[in-house]
Amino acid sequence: MTRFLRLVGRDLRLALRQGSDASIAVMFFVLCVVLFPFGVGPEPNILARIAAGVIWVAALLASLLSLERLFQNDYEDGSLELLSLSTLPMEAVVLAKTLAHWLVTGVPLIVAAPLLAVLLNMNAEGFGILVLTLLVGTPILSLIGSIGAALTLGARRGGVLLSLLILPLYIPVLIFGAGAIDAALNGLTPRPHLLLLGGLLAGALPLAPWASAAALRQAVE
């Protein structure tokens, strides 16, 4: 367990010292959302109507942006080889790196989301549920993304390939994430959406590290 936390700590330290990855994801997220009022016009009702979907789609794209680097650096400098030779199981390595990735890129999105919701004139009743869906949803994005990042390791133009592989898998998360917010805004209960989102997280938590670990073992061979 301490080794697991050590790896999380090392990845956090690397991310914070390099700085760019974490801030790029959140800046991309903000810019992406800010573009919409320019595109669809400043009509408050329209913006309020599309706010939930826009924020969720922007969150998907922002999380995708930094995923390519999840294993890339460790793969290129030989660290991944050594990690696979350590007594820490590969699944734990994946989980630790994904957790660090989520803390660095996912959490800032959750913090920034309510501000963007204000910008898009979302009804204040939806704010709590927006944060809640992102809190459950963004870890799923990181987990599913880790599979793509592991599979495209060493491939040329891995980033594009990663998007093509992963974006379709993000669709359920998007549907239930945005659906929960819409339900809450229309006076319905968001509970079923949230439960399904929770189910996706419960499924991704054991399955994604297992699949990523298998792909990584192939990559280091």
């Binding site: 080794r3 690397l14 650096n73 400098d77 030989g78 050594l82 696979s84 350590s86 280091v220 061979e221």
Partner: protein
Amino acid sequence: MPVFAGTELTCLRGDRLVFTGLDFRIEPGEALVLLGPNGSGKSSLLRVMAGLLKPLRGQLSWDDIAVTEDPDGHRSRIHYVGHLDAVKPVLSAVENLAFWANLGGAADPRTSARAALDRLGVPHIANVPGRYLSAGQKRRLNLARVLAAPATLWLLDEPTVALDRAAIALFEEIIAEHRAGGGMVAVSTHVDIAMPGARDLHLDDFTPIPHDADEDVDEDMEGEHAA
């Protein structure tokens, strides 16, 4: 007394047989030197020994027990030093090393990391970020890894690349000490590393097809680096 041995090993990379029918045996205190021209499979054999690469046929055993039956146990008793130095540019030398020492099970990673840097003659780089280290310093930092956490079997792939003569002499002493303490070493090298009583293993003896063109061999080496 533990014995690390391989029997009838066959290694396939891509669609090329690298070596076949290879046997080796390392006993405590022994060193095995892998010799052979580029592309003869020295790196591949070390990767097979480490468990990074699965042999097509044959098996590795530790104390007559197949390594595949206890992969975790095998990982905890080896140190593998490959071509890549695994140095993070934004972490200082001692931070880089302490992380691996911790993962390798050192009781006090920071202290053992500093001690290992001392032993390799580079105590002054302890607080220097990885990006400012020279190729030789990075290599010393990578080699310091084998000292920072204990392990019985050292698998060293061209450990002397980028090292100066003084560092090579220092490293010879370190290997001698490790062997005196009952440790085992398998090393591939083009440079002479003085290891009294080491056993030689000529990999070209196990190459199934004779090499005919030099370009062919070069391509194979590139393939190995990429892997």
